[in-house]
Structure formats: structure tokens, C-alpha cells
């Protein structure tokens, strides 16, 4: 198999996985689906970067720009999920803080849904 065919096969696979994770995160928006979406973006982004020599320049730049925006929005949701998770693990009973984080998460989730 040539490296070009290999790159195309890998990128197609990563792209399909990413599309699936976008749909899943849009539907569920739970911590797991948002995390998996971020991982899928990073893996696809790394594939694009690695094989950029073999791809049309514009296509790579456009895809990576769009992915960066989604990644940033998903990152905001993910950080709040982690904060809530660590609060549970620490048995922190500050209701005010928990509510504040939950409200921020709702807003961050809305922003992500608009992009993804």
C-alpha cells in the first residue's frame, strides 16, 4: 500500500469517528460524550497535521480552523465536568459553588451545540 492510500484510509476513518462523536455529543452532551468528542478532534487533527504534505493546503487549513473552534467550546464544557466531578470526589458540599458550575455548564453546552 502506498503512503498516500494509507493516509487517505486513516483520515477517512478518523473523520467518520469524529462525525459520529459530533452527533453523539450533540444528542447526549454528557461528560463522556464531550470527552470523546475532544479526543476524536485531537486524533483527526494530528492525522491532518502528520499527512498535510499529501493533502490540499486549503482543505487542511479550513478543517483545522473549524475543529479548533469546536475543541475550544468542548473544552469549556469538559473543564466544568471535571470541576463537578472533583467536587464529588472531594465530598465538597458547597451548594452555591455546585449550582454556579452547573449553570456555567449549561451555557457552555449551548455554545458547543451551536458549533458542533
Amino acid at each position: 500500500m502506498t503512503v498516500e492510500a494509507f493516509a487517505q484510509t486513516k483520515l477517512d476513518l478518523l473523520r467518520r469517528r469524529l462525525d459520529y462523536q459530533v452527533r453523539r455529543a450533540r444528542k447526549l452532551s454528557d461528560a463522556r460524550s464531550v470527552h470523546d468528542l475532544r479526543v476524536a478532534i485531537r486524533r483527526y487533527g494530528q492525522g491532518l497535521k502528520l499527512f498535510r504534505e499529501l493533502l490540499p493546503d486549503q482543505e487542511t487549513k479550513k478543517s483545522r480552523r473549524r475543529l479548533r473552534k469546536i475543541l475550544k467550546a468542548a473544552g469549556a464544557v469538559r473543564n466544568l465536568d471535571i470541576a463537578l466531578d472533583l467536587m464529588r470526589e472531594a465530598r465538597c458540599r458547597d451548594e452555591g459553588l455546585r449550582r454556579r458550575l452547573m449553570n456555567q455548564r449549561r451555557e457552555a453546552r449551548k455554545a458547543l451545540k451551536c458549533l458542533a
Binding site: T2, G47, L86, L101
Partner: protein, 144 residues
């Protein structure tokens, strides 16, 4: 990560054998520098990029590559958990409970200690980069 010059019509096995050893050598060299400088956040990102790159070529190698990938995954996870604590601590305002802050600090320190132990025992061993470069050069297999 350096921009790799792929030859479109070259076989993927020979291309992997040509490029991956150099990537591995550079990764271990850079990772060692970052570890010594205490730049653990940057080191986490380097590990992630290297791991995702190697995973793309997983089917071209045998189970030993799986062992390297598992080490990288563990290192990335510990550094990620450490980073999570720092991220959450930055999100808290002045009214956040002090015991939660202490919990985050203690957890981050524990994860860092676990990572340093893993580094000393496995990834940071002298000659590790050359060993993996040699493996990636010699043990690549052709796929139809």
C-alpha cells in the same frame, strides 16, 4: 513535530521505517529536556502528539509497540489528571472552600509523584529513544 516529507508513491512500510525512528529519537530527547525543566504541561502535549502519531501506524508493528503506547497512555493520563486539578483550581473564586483547594493540591502532588516514578522507571531510562528508534526501523511489516 517536524513537517515530514512523504513520497506519495512510496510504500507505507518503508515510509514508516524512514520517518518514525527520527520522530521517536526527537520525542525522547525533547521529552527529557522538558522533564528536566519541570515543563510538565508541555511534556503532556508532546506525549499526546507522539502517541496519536504512533497509533496511526499501529498495524505496521507487533505487540512491542503496544507496550510503548500503553506507557505513553499512562504517562498522559497521570499528567492529564494533574493538569485537571490545576485547571479547576484556576476556575475557583475567593469564596471557594479551602478544603476543596487543599484536596486539589494534594491530588495534583500525588499524580505528579506517580508520573515521576513512571518516568524514572520506564520512559526516562537512558537510551530509551535509541531503543525505540531501532525497533521502529527494523520491525515494520508490510501490509497489502
Amino acid at each position: 513535530m517536524p513537517r515530514l516529507k512523504w513520497r506519495r508513491d512510496a510504500g507505507v512500510a518503508e515510509s514508516a521505517a524512514q520517518h518514525l525512528p527520527g520522530l521517536a529519537e526527537r520525542f525522547f530527547e525533547r521529552a527529557g529536556e522538558l522533564f528536566s525543566a519541570g515543563a510538565l504541561h508541555e511534556l503532556r502535549l508532546e506525549i499526546k502528539r507522539f502517541r496519536y502519531t504512533l497509533e496511526l501506524f499501529r498495524e505496521l508493528y507487533g505487540p512491542r509497540l503496544g507496550a510503548l503506547l500503553e506507557m505513553l497512555r499512562q504517562a498522559q493520563q497521570l499528567l492529564g489528571e494533574m493538569n485537571d486539578c490545576a485547571t479547576v483550581a484556576r476556575m475557583l473564586d475567593a469564596s471557594a472552600p479551602e478544603d476543596f483547594r487543599r484536596f486539589l493540591e494534594t491530588r495534583a502532588n500525588r499524580k505528579e509523584a506517580e508520573f515521576r516514578a513512571l518516568w524514572q522507571k520506564r520512559l526516562g531510562r537512558p537510551g530509551e529513544g535509541s531503543r525505540w528508534a531501532e525497533y521502529l526501523r527494523r520491525y515494520v511489516r508490510r501490509i497489502p
